[in-house]
């Protein structure tokens, strides 16, 4: 029998039992729609995390002392931990070839005040490279110069600070006070929005790091050094190189590294692996419902075979081979599952769009999940239809015809 004839026969049989077909199809529809939506949810959150991380600067590398902390308590105080210093920054800038920007980060906490306005913003001491590393851009004015503005009482402020301190606008050339020390605003930053963890990236005041070191903190310790690798995929080489330079400066031979180097690439893969696990769990749950739908098909196919025993007997009596009967029932189950798959995919995409629009949740329907779902549906139809179909094909025509 030609596949077209088989398909026609299967469709007719399914149409004859509309309610039953509808219910078995529904089982698959729910399963597939759940898979599509869950995968879209997982993919969506992964994508949005990645986008935010990229906004922060994908090539960023953070170097910090290798302190072993647990619950805020520093363990193992004098074993391996080393402090970073300005000389490290200079050495990295001079020697490292896999990075194109280096900036220390030293912070001071307090309030910025202008007249009656204040802003509880952390003061961040950096070098001018920091803009490149973190993807900040100057909106108005200029960034301070690392040479001429050493220890200068100048600052560059983010848009939130502009709003808090200079509600009337145009802050360039004006002065704010931070812990009573006046800092002249020489530039403003373009708005960046919220970061990975919801923090406001525009609530920021940059000042030369030497200014923080000498005027605010009175220390030469540098908490962190930020660097920028020369491109995607160079993070690992850059890390090795940085560690090499820092160890060499100290003649380091101990097996434990004195510093920790975190790359943004690592961070991305760390966070996305968490969300990968989440989407795996979600998909597994959705997959179970697809499996249950498959069992529904198998059940209904068994019922169908028993109910149509006489028809099977007749078909065999008038010349159907076992194979013809097998294919007839297999076509029916595959058709149920593919129909369910097609509707389920449409419903899943629609549900994803609805969640995106109504709940403002990042959703991303992947083509792979659509193709895989459809493939799984086909396999489900064959797998769960096989035994009932084989049972039908192995019936004895005489017995089957006698069946009431």
């Amino acid at each position: 029998m030609s596949p077209l004839t088989l398909a026609k026969i299967a469709l007719k049989a399914l149409f004859r039992n509309r309610m039953r077909t509808f219910l078995s199809v529904l089982g698959i529809v729910i399963g597939v729609a759940a898979v599509i939506t869950m995968v879209a949810m997982g993919e969506g959150s992964k994508k949005s995390i990645k986008e935010k991380m990229t906004a922060m600067g994908t090539n960023a590398i953070v170097i910090m002392p290798n302190q072993q902390r647990r619950g805020g308590v520093q363990l193992d105080a004098n074993s391996t931990a080393q402090t970073l210093e300005e000389a490290d920054v200079i050495a990295l800038r001079r020697e490292a070839t896999y990075i194109n920007a280096v900036s220390p980060v030293i912070t001071a906490n307090g309030q910025a005040v202008v007249g009656n306005n204040n802003s509880p913003t952390q003061l961040t001491g950096v070098s001018s490279d920091y803009l490149l590393i973190r993807n900040y851009e100057i909106e108005d004015g200029v960034m301070f110069d690392d040479e001429t503005d050493r220890m200068a009482k100048v600052c560059v402020i983010g848009q939130t600070v502009v709003k808090n301190l200079f509600p009337e606008g145009n802050p360039i050339g004006k002065t704010l006070r931070y812990k009573s020390i006046p800092l002249k605003v020489i530039g403003t930053l373009k708005a960046k929005g919220s970061g990975d963890f919801g923090q406001d990236q525009d609530d920021i005041i940059f000042t030369p790091y030497q200014t923080v070191m000498k005027r605010f903190n009175a220390t030469t310790d540098i908490r962190q050094i930020y660097a920028n690798s020369i491109g995607e995929g160079y993070a690992e080489k850059a890390t090795e190189e940085i560690m090499g330079i820092l160890k060499e400066r100290r003649g380091w031979t101990k097996p434990v590294d004195p510093f920790r180097v975190r790359t943004q690439e690592e961070m991305i893969s760390m966070i996305t692996s968490t969300s990968d696990l989440l989407s795996l769990v979600l998909t597994a749950i959705a997959g179970i419902s697809l499996f249950v739908g498959g069992i529904g098909i198998m059940n209904i196919m068994y019922v169908s075979v028993t109910e149509r025993t006489k028809e099977i007997g007749l078909r065999m009596a008038i010349g159907a081979r076992s194979r013809d009967i097998l294919l007839q029932f297999l076509f029916e189950s595959v058709m149920i599952s593919l129909l369910g798959g097609a509707i389920g995919i449409a419903l899943g995409i629609a549900a994803s769009q609805a969640i995106k629009t109504i709940m403002n949740w990042p959703m991303s329907v992947s083509i792979t999940s659509v193709i895989v779902s459809f493939g799984v549906c086909f396999a489900t139809g064959v797998f769960f239809g096989w035994y009932p179909a084989r049972k039908a094909s192995r019936l004895d025509p005489i017995e089957a015809l006698r069946f009431e």
Partner: protein, 274 residues
Amino acid sequence: MQLFQGSAHLKNVETTNFNTSGEPILSIQNLRRDFKMGDEVVHALRGVSFDIHRGEFVTIMGTSGSGKSTMLNILGCMDKPTGGHYILDGEHTEKLSRDALARIRSQKIGFVFQSYNLLSRTTAIENVELPLLYNPKISAEERHHRALAALKMVGLEDRMNHMPNQMSGGQQQRVAIARALVNDPVIILADEATGNLDTRTSYEIMMIFQELHRQGKTIAFVTHEPDIATFSGRTVTLRDGLLKKDVVNEKVQDARAAFEALPPPETFDDEEDA
């Protein structure tokens, strides 16, 4: 006509000579069929032999338990004999595989059943087309064409789009006869084809069979009703798995005449409208 060799039951067989011109279309030789029922072996057929020639209308009679159903199953290639030979249209069927038997059923045999066995919620024409679906050589167009011709032969072309539940028993059986004709079989096997019908309708069905016989079809008709047997040219009687009688009907009754001789149907009767 020599039917058996060395059988103890030979003496019980009454035979009459009949026209045996040419090769038989169907020949069974010493056919046996045993069934295992638990530890016991039931001998349903104990060595039956006869031939059917092209164009014959044979009734096979017997009480229940005589082996006539088993015989029909074997003749219809749905069952294989335990021993003996069954040659249909030159093919030794006892050696064939399940699939090969299905091919023979599809191309050489037309079945008519007692309970019609039409597919429900399927139109008359689709029911008639059904056997041709299993013959890949026949196109959809030819299928329709042949099914329509078969329906015309039984006088139901105006009912081609009716479902079985919209037709009377007699009409359903005529659709079933059309279905048996559509593949142009070498033999039509009818299994108690009038068993579910009243006398009037039975005679109408027998009219169709007689007409088919006149057109040269070979028919084997299983029944236990003696009056049905009078419409055929030869009656083979089985008893306890053996051939009991094989006689030519000297005076074949005309089904049309018998039908017309019946008292007219009563008005309140929900009978055939054909």
